[in-house]
Amino acid sequence: MITAKNITKQFGKLKALDNVSVSFAKGECIALLGPNGSGKTTLIKALLGMVVPDSGTIHFAGQDIANKWRYRNQIGYMPQIGRYPENMTIAHVIDMMKDIRKADSGKHDEDLIESFGLKRMMDKRMRTLSGGTTQKVSASLAFLFNPDVLILDEPTAGLDPLSSELLKQKIIKEKQNGKLILITSHILSELDDLITEVFYMQEGRLLFHKKLSALKEETGEIKLSKAIAKIMSVKAV
């Protein structure tokens, strides 16, 4: 579904992406892991066309995405920090997104809006919302258009445990629907039930990209967090 070849991106002196090549297939749920500043977010932004790589190519469903914008119709993106124009209501934001993507109207996936209970607060202005509620709006928007690819940047940060669980269930459901899901998260314990592959980055470079099952086998651990810890310690030695 998404293939990137040798992409490099430099911000000033900092190499955010250093010759990274990836291939993400449909039906997978991939965890993008790595310490802060390892280039995860930059990679995501490159996939979304928000950051233009200095070199390398990215293909989405077989098409080069350079200077293209229509392919984003098939992506749902949930940013790390969502901030919206403060005087818009939730309804405004959702309507606006629907207007932007009016391609297949009628087939909106409003599951999350329902389960997060956003329906009751449609008329609230964005500036009056808590961080958690804003995240709920962001998550709902990502799933709203039934996209083939979901990119979720720290999706559970700021969500209460209950909502977090609701979101996880939704992610699992979409995975089973055969979608490609990219997640970055610091809370590894949350990812155990979700992911099928691990993509680990450090200092802008790809460290490894493995199936979760293979990783567990290699390390003999059941928990993702432990497995990662083990593999890192091995590498460090």
């Binding site: 991106k9 911000f11 932004k45 979304l48 066309g49 928000m50 950051v51 233009v52 914008w69 229509r70 392919y71 984003r72 119709n73 992506i75 993106y77 940013p79 920090i81 969502g82 901030r83 919206y84 124009p85 403060e86 005087n87 818009m88 405004h92 934001v93 309507d95 606006m96 997104m97 207007d99 932007i100 993507r101 009016k102």
Partner: protein, 255 residues
């Protein structure tokens, strides 16, 4: 573009600062017309508002709005939209909302109390300056990522156009007092949208004085319909130049 524009406008017209700006303009306009014994004096106060306050508010508000919308802009960029559409929508949203604010705050009182050529020209120039300074704000915000620097830059730009530029022109005038500078002055005025607007209003308010001395040159150039067209064209260039330049920046920008 319509898709986003509608929502951006709804957002901005409800902004507290825009509402205060509108009310403030309205209060000032109504009071100058009601308190001053003759409307000429009221017009003069409004002229200062149009030439000084309107550009200041427009450029600073727009700059801050763009910075505050950076995450929203990021979200929009992640959507299936052309960057040009996003940038144009934000520009149009700001320009339309602030023009509306100006029209309600100053335009309507002008129409009520002074609906002559001077009044119409003042409204036209106020609207032009609003849009020009939104455009310049887009450029200031597009040039730097840092919010504080961006706001500083826009204040500096405002200061340049409203004060420093004219001070330099005045300095030149005195340095080269012995040369006929009238035509050069006309030429210079095109480098400052505030000057262009001021001269157009001046041609209505102080026509008697302008007809004396160098007046002939100004009348030749600005007084006829050709000059008015050229001035309007100049102001239109002032809208699109900064905007297109900032769009070029935005298209290549990493968010």
């Amino acid at each position: 573009m319509k898709k986003i524009l509608k929502y951006v406008i709804v957002d901005i017209v409800q902004n507290r600062i825009v509402i205060i700006y509108t009310l403030l303009l309205l209060i000032i306009s109504l009071s100058v017309f009601n308190l001053e014994s003759n409307s000429a004096k009221g017009l003069l106060s409004l002229l200062n508002i149009i030439l000084i306050i309107v550009p200041l508010i427009c450029i600073i508000f727009s700059t801050i709005y763009i910075y505050n919308s950076s995450e929203f802009i990021e979200l929009l960029v992640s959507q299936p939209l052309k960057r040009r559409t996003i940038w144009a929508s934000i520009f149009s949203g700001l320009a339309i909302s602030l023009s509306l604010a100006f029209f309600i705050g100053a335009g309507i009182p002008l129409l009520l109390y002074n609906a002559d050529a001077t009044g119409f020209m003042m409204i036209a120039m106020g609207l032009f300056l609003t849009v020009v300074f939104v455009s310049i704000a887009m450029l200031a915000a597009g040039l730097t990522r840092d919010k504080a620097k961006g706001i500083g830059l826009s204040i500096l730009l405002w200061l340049f156009f409203s004060l420093i530029f004219d001070a330099l022109v005045l300095f030149l005038l005195f340095q080269f007092q012995d040369y006929p500078l009238e035509r050069l002055m006309v030429f210079f005025s095109f480098f400052n949208p505030i000057d262009l607007s001021r001269i157009q209003i001046l041609l209505h308010m102080d026509i008697s004085a302008l007809m004396g001395y160098t007046g002939a040159v100004f009348r030749e150039f600005f007084g006829n319909s050709m000059g008015i067209m050229l001035s309007f064209a100049g102001l239109t260039i002032w809208i699109f130049m900064p905007l297109l330049f900032s769009l070029k920046k935005f298209k290549a920008k990493d968010l």
